[in-house]
Amino acid sequence: MSASSVIFYVISGFILATALLAVTTKKIFRSAIWLLFSLIGVAGLYFWMQMEFIAAVQIIVYVGGIVVLIIFSIFLTQQSGNEMQKPSGIRTIFSILAVCIGFTLTYLLIRPYIFTPSSNTPMEVSVKNIGSQMLSTTEHGYVLPFEVVSILLLAAMIGCIVIAMKIKPEEK
């Protein structure tokens, strides 16, 4: 086993362990921190796959943005020191069962499938390539989604503001 595969397993283990902790920890703040580590682990996985750009995006958006937002909303809506109430026993059992069955099914689906790694000459995943393809107006260009994303973001922002500021005046 080479160093590279060791690193892969370490990263995967890290991702799964922290993700598991994130969904089972009782304190909500800790849960957010575990989620953060899990996301960082995913970024590490991207680094390992030499997708540096995606890794950086992952860190910027998830860690720098979403997790911070989640933490803020935790402060805003929770007694962050309290433990969250435990799910009922039956519910836990059924969830575990469902999840296990689902996992096995998927595993059985994946296992027989033989992926043939492509022999095409790989394209370098540099920011330059990403950029030029993103902005190109040809058939494989992504310029339309690129512009649509801005509308999506605009919609999201307006939505957020409308929703979040709705009750403000009455509160005061």
Binding site: F75, L153, I161
Partner: protein, 116 residues
């Protein structure tokens, strides 16, 4: 030395902090007293816990930030190629930024960027 430097630096960072804290742990024997572990609040016993619901005035900023943060990640690939693509890229980004700027103006107008 490539991406392995990340691992080296990660280990170095952890080792450095762990080493420093371990030295303090091993060699320094602090005294114990009942007040030491209590939170410091200007010498007055703290009343209530901070771990409760707490009005964050800044969350709207964080919301808006998140949107613009995503915008930034689209700008990086764009910025790299803009010189080569020339005018096309400029037009595209003007449309892109214009739409977002609308959002910014809206947020401004609605007072989301004002302090609450």
């Amino acid at each position: 030395m490539g991406s392995s430097s990340l691992i080296v630096l990660l280990i170095a960072g952890i080792a450095f902090s762990a080493g420093g804290i371990a030295v303090a742990r091993i060699f320094v024997k602090g005294t114990k007293n009942p007040q030491k572990g209590q939170p410091y609040e200007c010498g007055i016993p703290s009343d209530g816990t901070p771990w409760k619901q707490f009005n964050v005035g800044y969350y709207l900023f964080a919301l808006v930030f998140l949107i613009f943060d995503v915008e930034l990640i689209f700008l990086y690939p764009w910025a790299v190629v803009v010189k080569d693509l020339g005018m096309v890229a400029l037009v595209e980004i003007i449309v892109f930024l214009f739409i977002l700027f609308m959002g910014f103006l809206y947020a401004h107008k609605k007072g989301a960027l004002k302090w609450v």
